[in-house]
Structures are given as structure tokens and as C-alpha cells.
């Protein structure tokens, strides 16, 4: 699936209206787009909406793809921006509407865990991050993208990406609890 030349060819065809090329692009990238959306959005339904919006944007703006970045990078950008836009719209609606009652998972109730064990509250902790930090962490640590590529996707300098990733991880560590302290070591300011 990771074939940048094939992706570029498909994008060129898609830009000229080739429906089969669009379909193949969906085949190749919809899992990735959905995975990003699932990490970024508040629930599965919202993630599906974001995935749909991402591909609609792809269809409508394929002719604006310049070919400089990889198609996957372009799609990551569209997907991430789509998620951020939808989240901001949702936030605006929430501020205009009466607060809804819902039970957030309690991160403080987290048990110590192995670093390789997948914790059920990881998604809740991710969603508690500020959106810009969440995007950086998701792209870096879940999708394994390089800082330079994330910089292209988020359209911020590499230093900003690093800062968001590092601070995002710190916030997650706090949310998820006793990560660093299996031996009871205390944090001190002294070397």
C-alpha cells in the first residue's frame, strides 16, 4: 500500500475525474484516515463522519494536490485538519448548549501497567489532551511519522511539533498515572 508513485498516479487520474482512481485511493488509505480520526475524535460515529469528510475533501480538491508532498502526507493533513475543524465546531456547539451529563473515565483510577500493555483508558487519556497536542502525539507515536513530516502536515515548525509531542506525552503520563515509578523512586530537583 505504501507506494508513493502509485499514489501520485492515482491522484493525477482522480484530479481529472477518474472515479476508479478515487476508489483505489480509498482502498489504499481509508484505514489510515479512520485510524487518525478514531484517535482524534470523541467517538466512533464522529470518527466515521471525519473519515467521510476527509474523502469528500479529497474528491473535491484532488486537482489542488501539487505533488510535492507524498499523497499520504497530504491525506494525513486533510484528515487531521478535518478532525480539528469538526472538534472546534463541536466545541462551539457545546458552549452554546446546556452542558450534558456524562461520565468521563477517571484517569486517577488507573492501575500501574506494563509499557507494552494496551490500557483501556488510553483513548480517554488521549482525548483529554488539547487538540493540537493530541494531533502531534497521534501522528508521532501512533502513526510513527517523522517530525519533519508532521511539521508538513500540521504546518508548524519542527520545534513546535517536538514541543507538542513531548508535552503531550507528559500530560498522558500524568493522566495515566504511575508510569515511571515502579520502584517508588521520587522525583527530586537535585541531580
Amino acid at each position: 500500500m505504501n507506494d508513493p508513485d502509485r499514489d501520485r498516479d492515482l491522484m493525477a487520474r482522480a484530479a481529472s475525474g477518474d472515479r476508479a482512481a478515487f476508489t483505489e485511493l480509498m482502498d489504499r488509505h481509508e484505514d489510515m484516515v479512520f485510524a487518525v480520526a478514531m484517535r482524534m475524535m470523541r467517538d466512533r460515529e464522529a470518527a466515521l463522519d471525519a473519515t467521510q469528510e476527509t474523502f469528500l475533501t479529497l474528491f473535491r480538491k484532488a486537482d489542488r494536490y501539487s505533488g510535492e508532498a507524498a499523497v499520504s502526507t497530504w491525506l494525513y493533513r486533510v484528515a487531521t485538519n478535518t478532525c480539528l475543524d469538526l472538534l472546534r465546531k463541536h466545541k462551539r456547539r457545546r458552549t452554546e448548549a446546556p452542558p450534558e451529563h456524562h461520565d468521563e473515565p477517571d484517569p486517577s483510577a488507573a492501575e500501574p501497567f506494563s509499557a507494552v500493555e494496551v490500557r483501556p483508558d488510553i483513548d480517554a487519556a488521549l482525548r483529554s489532551l488539547p487538540e493540537d497536542f493530541r494531533a502531534a502525539v497521534v501522528l508521532s507515536d501512533i502513526h510513527g511519522l517523522a517530525i519533519a513530516e508532521i511539521s508538513q502536515i500540521l504546518e508548524v515548525p519542527s520545534g513546535t511539533v517536538k514541543s507538542r509531542v513531548f508535552r503531550g506525552r507528559r500530560m498522558l503520563a500524568e493522566k495515566l498515572g504511575n508510569l515511571h515509578d515502579p520502584s517508588g523512586r521520587q522525583r527530586t530537583d537535585d541531580a
Binding site: 485510524a35 474523502f55 473535491r60 510513527g144 509531542v165 515511571h180
Partner: protein, 269 residues
């Protein structure tokens, strides 16, 4: 005591450092609890997220997603729906007779076809135009006069729709011993092929016609002559034009009357 450069430690945990910076960070981690804790946090969170299983689309979600996307970029234009209703208005009763006579009647709507098809999408996805040229069939392009003629005819017949109870037509067909298939939207050649395979199976099961020789899709504004002995008809919209898929059995020759789009012709018999 040193200044805790936590970003330096995070860079170290991320594998970004080399040379003297790497050595310096490693020394901090060895000698400073806070730096060690930062290293551990960064490393553990990184490992935790990397190990998280990727969320996956279910097949139902995948299918729904495709349909939603293609429905939005290629909504069935009103003319298509009108055309289908018009077809039912003109042929509904006779079609019921027809399907009773031949044993199978299939009515559906096709949103597109595969092959060398193409389409353009205007910003906002409200406008959609397609052209189709499958390799094994000739598709006479509808010229503007034909299109205008078709539009006029659709407009003239639109009044008839007011008197047509689509539900009654569907019920009429459904209550017959035959099958009414709502083919829905078909975005790909594979979907069309699946439908045709299904029709073929139906034909084989329910009539003494042993084979369906061909299925032909063509674009133009056409209507079936209901006096003909068509084995099965799929009302389809391919491109911007209503189209039909005819299935001709080995004993039955399709006979077609074209209400509009004079260039439209079956490509096999």
C-alpha cells in the same frame, strides 16, 4: 544540581540525539531522578502508543462509508429519479403483466458503472457529470438536442407522476410471484456484475431459459416497449442519463422503443 532540560531528555528518549548531546542526556538520566523519571515517562508513553492496536473499520462501516461518499459526490439527480418514476408510470401495470408472463422482472436503479468511466465533481459536490465508455459496448454520446428533447419529455411526463402511486406500483410488482429488486446505487463495475450474476441466477432458477446471453448497459434516455418479451430489465442511471440493462434469453429477443435519445440502441440481441 543542574537545570533539568526535560526537552533534551525527551529528545534522548525519542532517539533524536547523537554525539555530545546524547552523552550529556544519558548522564543526566543516570544521575538525576527527575531526568530519569522524564526519560521513563517519555519512553513508556511512546511504547504504549506504538503498541496500541489500530482501530479498524467493520465491513458494514466500510460499505456505508463508500456509499455515503459516492452518494454525496454523485447524488442521484432529480431527473434520474423522475425517470425511474416515469418509467413505472408508463410501464408499471404492463410491467407486472410482463414479469408474470416471463417469470422474472427486475427493476432497479444504477448509480454508475465501471470500466473506463470518469466523472468530475464541482466544489461542494452538488454537481456531478460522468461519461462512460466500456470496452465492449458503444455508447452514443447524447448530443445537446437529444438531451433537450429528453428533458422536455421528462418535464411533460412529470405531471403524470402526480397520479402515480409508486408504492402501489412497487406493491403490484412485489405481490406478483416475481421479484422486484431495488438495486439502489451501484458505484462500481463489480457491483453491477454482482447484480447481473444475481439476475442470471434468478433467471436460471425461475424460467426455462437456461442462459442469459448478454447484459448490455447503455446510456441515453430510453424506455422499454412493454409489449416486448423482455426477460428482465434493470432501469439504471449510468452517467447523467437513465439507462437500462437488458438481459436477453436464448429464446427471447428484446424489443425496445425509445422515448427519447434516438441514438440509443441495444448493442446485442
Amino acid at each position: 544540581m543542574h537545570d533539568h532540560d526535560l526537552d533534551l531528555i525527551a529528545e534522548f528518549a525519542s532517539g533524536f540525539l547523537t554525539g555530545a548531546d546524547e552523552s550529556r542526556a544519558a548522564e543526566f538520566v543516570r544521575s538525576c531522578d527527575r531526568c530519569a523519571a522524564e526519560f521513563e515517562d517519555q519512553t513508556n508513553i511512546r511504547s504504549l502508543l506504538a503498541a496500541a492496536p489500530a482501530p479498524a473499520l467493520s465491513e458494514f462501516e466500510r460499505t456505508s462509508l463508500r456509499r455515503s461518499v459516492f452518494d454525496t459526490v454523485a447524488p442521484p439527480p432529480r431527473a434520474r429519479m423522475n425517470w425511474q418514476r416515469r418509467f413505472l408510470a408508463v410501464t408499471g401495470v404492463a410491467a407486472a403483466v410482463l414479469v408474470t408472463a416471463v417469470g422474472v422482472g427486475v427493476v432497479g436503479q444504477l448509480g454508475g458503472s465501471g470500466g473506463d468511466d470518469s466523472f468530475t465533481v464541482a466544489d461542494g459536490g452538488e454537481s456531478f457529470a460522468t461519461t462512460t465508455a466500456a470496452s465492449d459496448m458503444r455508447v452514443p454520446p447524447a448530443d445537446s438536442d437529444d438531451a433537450a428533447e429528453a428533458d422536455e419529455e421528462i418535464g411533460a411526463l412529470a405531471a403524470d407522476e402526480e397520479t402515480v402511486d409508486d408504492g402501489a406500483v412497487a406493491e403490484s410488482a412485489a405481490s406478483s410471484p416475481n421479484l422486484l429488486i431495488d438495486a439502489g446505487e451501484f458505484a462500481t463495475q463489480d457491483e453491477l456484475d454482482s447484480l447481473l450474476a444475481e439476475i442470471t441466477a434468478l433467471v436460471a432458477d425461475t424460467t426455462d431459459v437456461v442462459a442469459v446471453e448478454d447484459a448490455v448497459a447503455f446510456g441515453a434516455t430510453c424506455a422499454v416497449d412493454v409489449e416486448s418479451q423482455l426477460l428482465a430489465v434493470v432501469i439504471a442511471t449510468i452517467d447523467d442519463s437513465p439507462a437500462q440493462v437488458f438481459l436477453s434469453g436464448d429464446r427471447l429477443e428484446p424489443s425496445v422503443t425509445f422515448l427519447a435519445g434516438a441514438d440509443c440502441a441495444p448493442l446485442s440481441s
